[in-house]
Symmetry: C2
Subunit: 197 residues, 2 copies
């Protein structure tokens, strides 16, 4: 493409990132070369640092740079609440919401008969252990509203019934959402869960 | 976002790439951490290598890792043809076409009264010099079919009239194109330039 080996190899690797293709990878690489000091060199340095230090938290599965992540290490977060999420991206999304003050547990996926993913492939046994070990009183199931997500939620609820309070995220109209653009399922869920003003 | 400083900084830098935003940058970084050996480390290495070696060709403005790019250095490409393009991405696009056997000249933009870009801000004086110095017989103006691109083509044509054959890329129906999806201007250009079978 560029008739240069290193630059071509860089474009090829960039094109493998989710959300980028060959054309946007070429644009990104030209952009980086033009902003060498401000972006290319810092990016290379940070990637090297993250490659050397990033690891899964042994307790919850979050990604950080220590064996036990900052959230699990913080005593403030030990309030007896545990939020169960599918993956690290969902954990970060919950943290951006700034509403949840407890700790997390990352499953690493959802149960799926099709893909042969059973409870042992996920971190469900570890979850059951944590309930006892950390004296958890409430588990918030923040799983995606997909079939696999809800199957997984039901399975976890079965495993832990009677030992802990189980809750799930409310379903309803998103903040700023317009009724006309919502699907029928969301509207009926929001109506069924209507609140007295 | 991730409650980790290095990872957050990496996401922030990735989000500045063209074609990526905060959400896709987070996905890309999680993907890279999951594929540390295969993608993250090679990417960091290549970025460092490209940051150290990438430079503009002193002759044509192409980006490579030597002072004179591979195309300018190749005697085979000295066939008296010079293809003038707006930027390096366009040069790479021409090379992917594999049809042009001569050398290139990258202007680095187009003339623009609005943005106060005159001939001196582009590499137009260098282009005029190269015509003499390299014994150029034909200049192919491969500039974008935008107003600024065409203004620049006319300016260059004025500068070099009588000293060299000036050609421009043909306009017409793209290969695989369907008439119904083409704009009116392209259809009328293709009709005016119709060929006898």
């Amino acid at each position: 493409m560029s008739s240069n080996r290193d630059i071509d190899a860089l474009i090829e690797l960039m094109a493998k990132l989710p959300g980028l293709g060959p054309r946007s990878a070429r644009r990104a690489v030209l952009h980086l070369i033009a902003k060498r000091e401000l972006q290319l060199i810092p990016l290379a340095d940070l990637m090297q640092r993250v490659a050397a230090s990033a690891r899964e938290c042994l307790n919850c599965g979050n990604i950080g740079t220590t064996d036990i992540c900052d959230i699990c290490a913080s005593e403030k977060r030990a309030n007896g609440q545990l939020c169960v999420v599918e993956d690290v991206a969902d954990l970060w999304a919950m943290e951006r919401g700034r509403a949840f003050k407890g700790r997390y547990h990352v499953l690493g996926g959802t149960l799926s008969a099709l893909d042969q993913i059973g409870p042992e492939q996920l971190r469900i046994p570890q979850l059951v252990n944590r309930v006892e070990a950390e004296g958890i009183s409430e588990i918030v199931l923040a799983l995606n509203a997909t079939v696999d997500g809800q199957t997984t939620a039901h399975y976890i609820a079965d495993q832990l019934e009677g030992r802990v309070t189980l809750t799930s995220l409310a379903q309803g109209v998103p903040i700023g959402g317009e009724l006309d653009y919502l699907d029928d399922g969301t509207i009926s869920a929001a109506l069924n869960a209507r609140k007295t003003l």
